[in-house]
């Protein structure tokens, strides 16, 4: 009886031991660019396309995750041209801006005051580890209050994460 009990205990212990599977992981510095929300142009007037909510649009939102502070800078460029549109025979005037809409760390609150803007790009030093959500507004005005021809309009926001 003792021998059988000992055998059962031995078998159970062997089977438990056999199920030990190691999982190895490492966390390294990285930047992850995440498309949180794709933007949509609203058409509040015939001559205007805008991502503003009040104009019927949707602001594109991009999330940057950095695992270590001071390793990366974010450069976000709002559009100054269509990547897809019907044929346009007049000029399009572009405007836009980028701002921080949400953060995972209260210390990121200074990002908007410390940002550097040039041409149609906005640069942020990612000085705190964590997630930052940026929203990008874009507006296109066609000619002198001229109506945009019907069709699909597409423009591109560039979100860059550059190691410092």
């Amino acid at each position: 009886m003792k021998f059988i009990s000992a055998m059962i205990v031995a078998m159970v212990s062997v089977s438990v031991f056999a199920e030990e599977v190691p999982i190895v992981g490492s966390v390294e510095s990285r930047c992850i660019v995440i498309t949180d929300t794709d933007g949509i142009y609203g058409n509040p007037t015939p001559s205007e396309l805008s991502t503003a909510q009040a104009d019927g649009g949707v602001l594109p939102v991009i999330r940057f995750d950095v695992l270590q502070a001071d390793f990366y800078k974010a450069v976000i460029t709002h559009p100054n041209g269509f990547t897809e549109s019907p044929s346009l025979d007049d000029t399009v005037t572009w405007s836009g801006s980028t701002s921080v809409t949400d953060t995972s760390d209260a210390n990121m609150s200074s990002y908007d005051t410390d940002k550097v803007t040039y041409n149609n790009s906005t640069e942020y030093d990612l000085t705190v580890a964590g997630s930052t959500w940026f929203s990008v507004s874009s507006e296109a005005d066609y000619g002198y209050s001229k109506a945009f021809p019907p069709g699909t309009y597409r423009a591109m926001v560039e979100a860059e994460c550059i190691a410092q």
Partner: protein
């Protein structure tokens, strides 16, 4: 408390990266290749962007100007939720200038890509 904040952040990073572009390592080194006069580095890309399957490799100087390089493909196919390892080769005389190695997402011209956002991640030489 701080431990839980870090834990939540890590979980957030790995659970909700549903539409993300990742390019590592952050800092890379040029090493001699098996061919004389050529240097190489190995990078990894992970594509978790739905609707984006192609990424363009770029080698840039400190002013973000493009430099000549060789790789098996300049525009690489990385299916959704896949990783790829990429070997990049440059001439030895370009090593002092080659500061950044980047990937930029490519959007399909046929309109199948619904995205509004082009992502680029640049790693820097160590």
């Amino acid at each position: 408390m701080k431990f839980f904040a870090v834990l939540i952040f890590v979980i957030l990073c790995y659970s909700s990266v549903a539409d993300a572009h990742e390019w590592t390592p952050t800092y890379f080194q040029w090493k001699p290749a098996y061919v004389k006069g050529i240097s190489t580095t190995t990078m990894k890309i992970r594509n978790a962007r739905k609707g984006v399957d192609y990424y363009e490799i770029q080698v840039l100087d400190s002013e973000m100007n493009p430099l000549k390089f060789a790789a098996t493909e300049r525009i690489i196919y990385v299916p959704y939720l896949r990783r790829r390892t990429v070997d990049i080769y440059i001439p030895d005389n370009s090593v002092p200038q080659a500061m950044y190695v980047c990937t930029r997402s490519k959007i399909r011209k046929d309109g199948q890509s619904k995205t509004f956002i082009s992502s680029r991640i640049c790693s820097k030489v160590k």
